[in-house]
């Protein structure tokens, strides 16, 4: 991986930007006054069709229904069809009941006016856990609640969209240097009130000691949950 690594002298590791050194072709050309210049034989001009990103496979009806359900239960219209297919496949692998459950949920989605209403209908149909598992998959980008989860999305995970006006998705430099000095956007949600929620995981290298963080419930109903740590 590291061919071309030089054995030549490099200046002492010192605080200065070291990008520019002998790479200025401008002066090379001026210097090579008696040399002929071959016209870049290495520029190959093979015409070939530009590689397109793979288009999603022709959507089967169950995929369409699942995507429609996903849109309805999350309230987000702009969901990626490829990601939907991958979530569907992962949940199908995790639970034999899932195909039937997904079909039922797809039916319910046609009539539900709001995500909350759809969840209520799903609960009535005994499919609350499955519905919430689908929600968790879209929001976290992982299908499954533990280390064996199937990862289908990272940057497009819906949880990041909720704060994309105020934060970057970690590992991406969306805004350039020193962007965080500016004031954050208006928060547009009401302040928190005490709720009966579990203690949140902390971040920044606490190693789990006696108590691992409680993972969200995200297994389809009817399946024994995978072994928890």
């Amino acid at each position: 991986m590291s061919d071309g690594r030089p054995g030549t002298d490099t200046p002492d590791y010192a605080p200065r930007s070291g990008v520019r050194d002998h790479d200025s072709g401008r002066r090379q050309v001026l210097a090579a006054s008696l040399a002929a210049l071959l016209g870049g034989p290495w520029l190959s001009r093979l015409a070939s069709g530009a590689a397109q990103p793979s288009s999603p496979a022709a959507a089967a009806p169950e995929q369409e229904a699942f995507l429609a359900f996903s849109r309805a239960i999350t309230g987000h219209a702009e969901l990626n069809a490829t990601t939907a297919r991958r979530i569907y496949d992962a949940m199908r692998k995790a639970s034999g009941d899932f195909t039937a459950q997904a079909a039922r949920l797809g039916e319910l989605a046609k009539d539900a006016a709001t995500p909350q209403a759809l969840l209520a209908d799903a609960s009535t149909a005994g499919l609350r856990e499955t519905a919430l598992a689908v929600v968790a998959a879209w929001y976290t980008g992982s299908v499954g609640s533990d280390s064996n989860a199937t990862v289908v999305a990272y940057r497009e995970a819906l949880m990041y969209r909720t704060v994309e006006d105020g934060q970057t998705v970690p590992t991406y430099c969306n805004y350039g240097p020193a962007w965080w000095v500016a004031d954050p956007p208006p928060v547009r949600v009401s302040p928190p009130v005490e709720k009966p929620s579990p203690e949140p995981p902390t971040t920044g290298f606490p190693v789990p000691t006696t108590r691992p963080p409680a993972p969200p419930a995200s297994t389809p109903q009817g399946t024994p949950s995978p072994e928890r740590r």
Partner: protein, 550 residues
């Protein structure tokens, strides 16, 4: 430019043999190669690629990421395991009343653990090096802050530390040179938090960090992608690998997947050679004039004990019986709450401000100091975990995640350990690594000094929570590790109760140096890396004098 020589068998000869390619080993290799010596660096772990590690992190299950699995994304050599936690491997066994609090994360790879640090570069206070004579607890260093200070400056210059040049914002303010780069600017969260707590004496200051605030040394400036832990995608944060690269350009040779297991000594108890296993389990030998073990605070004492020989039956460098003893870390805990106003942490690098008011005071004769970091890693993951548990969907779910992210605060508290010889690393009698070498066991008890310090800190946190009108206020009940492993090869004036002298040179072996966290006789409450690097540079200066004399 000199390089090590290899014979047909693959055995090596060099002026300087460095075991361990983390920040300390790499810095020493770079320094001595730059002075024209041939340097061989033996690293137990593999070479890794930054981009591969970035992709590994993005491909990690949500559960691991939100649980801060900062080890799992880094490839390991099958022959040189390091601790893993998802699930936990049994490489290091920790026991004792605080065994659970000493579960360390470190990397055995080329470049070491600074691949996934937060780059905080604190100095000890002058008084931190005189704990015994000032507060009657712990040990004094055999060297003073003033003696170490030029090496602190040198370390900051080499790593590129961005820090505040206003003395009112410095901790400590005793410094002979300005920082090479201006401080990482504060975001709204740092500013607002400081505004609220500072009138009460908590003293929030900018954290000096090895992170570029302008393009520097061919590396870009920080873009605030908030992923410092576990990997900076753009190399704006300093990693030990940079000095590996620099050392190699100066002729040093770094062998990856080379696990040292044996140390030869002669009749004067000088080290003559080390032996290593390569990736194919073949054994090789490296002969040299001087030897440096910079394997980290667990692996260096482990190796010294493993390499016990006839002349040194208790372990190399262990006539004092202190190798592996006095293990220390900044045991810590977390405080989370939701403030009544948006704080919007999670913008910019992983940590930028810290409360150092509780860092010093007369109370230190009775209980531990502490520091309180405003954790700036985005709260989106934990917020989502909680919000999903509430069974919300649609806009309610989006709002709840946004609420818990924008109003959420996570404080990370560090406490100061005291060196206790019973906090001890020994070799397991039963567990062996894939090469058949004994795994480390560590017995740990934080002690009353730390427990009382934690209690005092909890009261401070409750006060801070009240200043923010906190709801859902939690303090984690257990102490967690902070990976600042210290003490296992402790520094002192007397060979009777210490392993190395003020240059990190082993008392027992005139040509063996053991720089790093293991040498530190006191931990203070601040991250240990800058002090480790300063000690490494001081050791390099001492090695250079020795090589000149020879």
């Amino acid at each position: 430019m000199k390089s090590p020589a290899f014979d047909s068998r693959g055995d090596a000869t060099a002026d300087v043999i460095v075991v361990g390619s983390g920040v300390v080993g790499a810095m020493i290799a770079d320094q001595l190669a730059g002075k024209g010596h041939s340097v061989l660096v033996l690293e137990a772990g593999p070479r890794i690629d930054r981009g591969q590690v970035v992709e590994n992190w993005r491909n990690m299950p949500f559960f691991n990421r939100v649980g801060s699995d900062f080890q799992g994304l880094f490839p390991q050599s099958p022959l040189a395991p390091a601790p893993l936690y998802f699930p936990k491997n049994d490489y290091v066994l920790t026991t004792g009343p605080s065994g659970g609090s000493f579960q360390q994360g470190y990397l055995r790879v080329v470049g070491g653990t600074t691949w996934h640090w937060a780059a905080s570069c604190w100095r000890h206070l002058p008084v931190d090096m005189r704990m015994k004579s000032t507060y009657g607890v712990g040990r004094d260093w055999p060297i003073s802050y003033d003696e170490l200070e030029p090496f602190y400056c040198d370390a900051e210059d080499r790593m590129g530390v961005a820090g505040p040049n206003d003395p009112a914002l410095q901790s400590p303010s005793e410094r002979s040179r300005p920082y090479p780069m201006d401080m990482i600017p504060w975001g709204y969260g740092d500013r607002r938090f400081a505004e609220v707590v500072n009138p009460h004496g908590y003293r929030s200051v900018p954290i000096p960090q090895a992170r570029n605030t302008r393009p520097w040394n061919g590396r870009p400036e920080c873009c605030g992608n908030n992923n410092c832990q576990p990997i900076c995608p753009i190399s704006a944060m300093y990693n030990g690998i940079h000095h590996v690269t620099s050392a190699e350009a100066k002729g040093a040779k770094v062998l990856a997947e080379a696990v040292v297991y044996k140390i030869d000594t002669d009749e004067n108890n000088r080290v003559t050679a080390v032996h290593w296993y390569d990736a194919g389990r073949r054994t090789r030998k490296a002969t040299g004039k001087v030897f440096v073990l910079a394997c980290n605070g667990i692996e260096t004492p482990r190796l010294l004990l493993i390499a016990a020989n006839a002349r040194n039956p208790r372990g190399i460098a262990n006539s004092s019986d202190q190798v592996g003893r006095n293990m220390m870390d900044h045991s810590g805990f977390h405080c989370t709450f939701l403030a009544k106003e948006p704080i919007w942490t999670g913008r910019g690098p992983a940590q930028s401000s810290c409360l150092v008011g509780p860092r010093d005071g007369t109370f230190r004769s009775e209980y531990s100091a502490n520091k309180i970091i405003l954790n700036n890693i985005t709260r989106v993951g934990p917020a989502t975990t909680q919000a999903l548990k509430l069974g919300l969907v649609g806009k309610e779910l989006d709002d709840e995640i946004r609420r818990r992210t924008a109003f959420g605060v996570d404080l990370s508290i560090s406490l100061e350990p005291l060196p206790d010889p019973n906090n001890r690393l020994t070799l397991s009698a039963t567990r062996r690594d894939p090469l058949g070498l004994p795994c480390p066991d560590i017995h740990y008890d934080v002690g009353e000094y730390v427990r009382k310090g934690a209690e005092a800190s909890r009261r401070q946190l409750e006060h801070i929570g009240s200043l923010f009108g906190a709801v859902e206020f939690h303090i984690t009940p257990d102490l967690n590790a902070n990976n600042h492993i210290m003490g296992g090869t402790i520094m002192g004036a007397s060979p009777k109760d210490s392993v190395v002298d003020g240059d990190c040179r082993a008392h027992d072996h005139a040509n063996l140096w053991l720089p790093g966290g293991g040498a530190m006789p006191s931990g203070s409450v601040v991250n240990s890396t800058l002090t480790m690097v300063a000690l490494g540079l001081k050791a390099a200066a001492s090695i250079e004098r020795e090589l000149q004399r020879a």
